[in-house]
Subunit: 153 residues, 2 copies
Amino acid sequence: MKLKLIVALALGAATTAAVAGEVEDQIRFRQSAYSFLGWNTAKIKAQAADHPETFNKDQVIAAANAVAAVANSGLLSLYGPGTDKGTGWKATRLKPEFFEKQDEVKEIEATFIKEANELQKVAANGDAAEVKAQFGKVGATCKSCHDLIRVRE
Amino acid sequence: MKLKLIVALALGAATTAAVAGEVEDQIRFRQSAYSFLGWNTAKIKAQAADHPETFNKDQVIAAANAVAAVANSGLLSLYGPGTDKGTGWKATRLKPEFFEKQDEVKEIEATFIKEANELQKVAANGDAAEVKAQFGKVGATCKSCHDLIRVRE
């Protein structure tokens, strides 16, 4: 029983490593996640904020589901040691300070998840003004993380 | 009223274009979506198929939600004219035949959405064997599309 547990834990660690992958893989996966996120937030911004006359409830729901899925996907597992240097699709913009600011980072992640889950709920109601307001809260969590640990371009 | 409608339609078209973007943007967004998808399918494969002793219900639910979110995100809007050539994060592998095989492509997309939505439901039950079986069906839809319109590496 004890051996089985140790094997399971060892395989669990191996699996996590395999899934999280090498430094370059982690950077590429997180860049992909944020790019997929950006495509979907652009759709919400266009339809709920910039051009509300084009609001399409089903498209906004799908985009909000995508935002929530990214938020809940365990992104922090893609920020392993050494991933403040290296190239995924492009060179990472992660500041080395990331590793010293774990309390703030985890707090921001929790807020991002909370606000993204709320956006998913609000989107289901189909009210453009409500979506716009909640979308602003999600955007604020994005910005707070960028300000904290992302190199400015 | 008629003018308002025309303006709305024009803005709608402009918005769609802005969101879908230039050829390179479309290719980069779809490569990001598939890479985010691949990261999440790898988690499900590891936990439900390769190492079921590491099965973590919450992580599999989150990954299945991500797979469903990608499937329902309107990926075909990222396959505009000319996107069989060009470079997003890397050169596209889309075959030019894509544009002549729209009936098959749309049928595959519908099956992908159906099977991914089912995976999301099955994951919520938390049974590794059921997840593995349904994951196989999702994987088959991925492969059918790759075989049809993606250049082999």
